[in-house]
Amino acid sequence: MEDHVNAFVPGPRVHVSGKPGGPLAGLTFGAKDLFDVAGVPTGGGNHDWAKFNPVPEHHSWAVQTLLDAGADLVGKTITDEVSLGILGENAFDGTPINTAAPERVPGGSSSGSAAAVAAGLCDTALGTDTGGSVRVPSSFCGLYGIRPTHGRVNVAGMMPQAPSSDTTGWFARDAKTFARVSTVMLGEEPGALPTKLIIATDAFGFADPEVAAALQPMVARLQKIVGESREDLMAPQGLSVWSRAQRTLQPVEAWQTFQPWVEKTNPRMAFGVVAGLLNGAQMPVAERNWAALMRQEARARLRHLLPPGTILCLPTTPFPAPLRGLPMPQLQPLRDRINCLCAQGGLTGSPQVSLPGATVDGAPVGLSIIGGRGTDAALIAVALAMEEAA
């Protein structure tokens, strides 16, 4: 298989066959280079990471689970450096090509996994989502993608970033494959469809008007599937306030995670990654305390909005993928806006699925659905119903 989109990590390609006869027999998968594969160094998107960390002796839980279910591992995929990035640009390994919009970035940090699935190089791929790293590439590459309920999917053997927000997610091109993989990863069949829909008007208003308009047919389809719907605010304090809380908590934890490595090995890193880590290292206690309170408020808000049977929808990203190779001063405001629509995941731990089906200027943009904690299987059912009704 030729990797014409630079989705897999450079060098020899790992291949591990799945157990015969499982529910995922016949499917292939890629694993973001944050997931341990026995006998293969975990690269983490930084060329000095593997030097500090021993070659894993065991598969990560997620890789083992997919292999046990019969899927074949066909390679490890490029990640943003130590999972710190949202656009998919990696100074060491390059930027995978987004087949759906080749002049644009694929999104990150699970960039190679999304690019590989979008290009048809594998059927599904593992990603991680701390601050949006599955949801954003799903939106930009036109894929189904899930950030499961925090704590639901075992993260053993997955390189951590900010443990109170880290999750293991996955991608697929079609809802049926997505549901097959999800059934294995969640250990639960797609559940009953929700019966109430909330349209997050603050999030739709925050997105580009072209995005909100392009998503309207999908929202209408969702309304038909779910039944009753109403408009409400997701984040009464303001999306930027939620985002600020996440952008406070996440870097602090990321710094705690990477500090030993940075201080012992003085690794080579891209400027943007260093800036992110320093931000966490220098975060004032007062800011952290405020952010911890804001997280409690956000969790309470989603508990209130999302009792069993209710889901909320919003644009996954405020715009389709930005162009490749934009200069840093242009990228930072875009990252900030993306974070405003993603912060709820890391803050609250609620599950979120991004659904493909809309484009702006020929480039994909996803519609997201969020449920209460533990309702992952209901979101998968919605994904199936949305595809059937398309």
């Binding site: 090509i97 080749p102 002049e103 162009l323 200027d361």
Partner: protein
Amino acid sequence: MTDFTPNIPEVVAEVSALFERYETALAEKDVAVLDATFWDSPHTIRYALHENGYGFEAIHAHRVARPPGPSIKEKRIRLEILTLGRDIATVNLEFKVRGKDLIGRQSQSWVRFPDLGWKVISAHVSTMDGARLW
């Protein structure tokens, strides 16, 4: 200094993916992608098999008017992608015309604009007629 390095692999990969997306969009008559591929400017030119499109508006009108149906390309004979530096590329494809003993040729000039990304600024499709003109 302007970089004119030929065929930087990642740039070739990018242009190649753009070309493939365009070809898929032609076959599926995905006007949004077809429009997104060409520079939205009165200077853009597309000589198609049966029409001369001067300017984006005319090219768009041709896209909309074209009846859906299978692509005229039956088989690719030779695809040549040349990139110079990171902002200039040409794509040339020689192909067999569907159901006819006829060779088709497709040429595109691509430029990467700082604010728009890669766009085709000029394109030409023609066939090699069996009857020689000279």
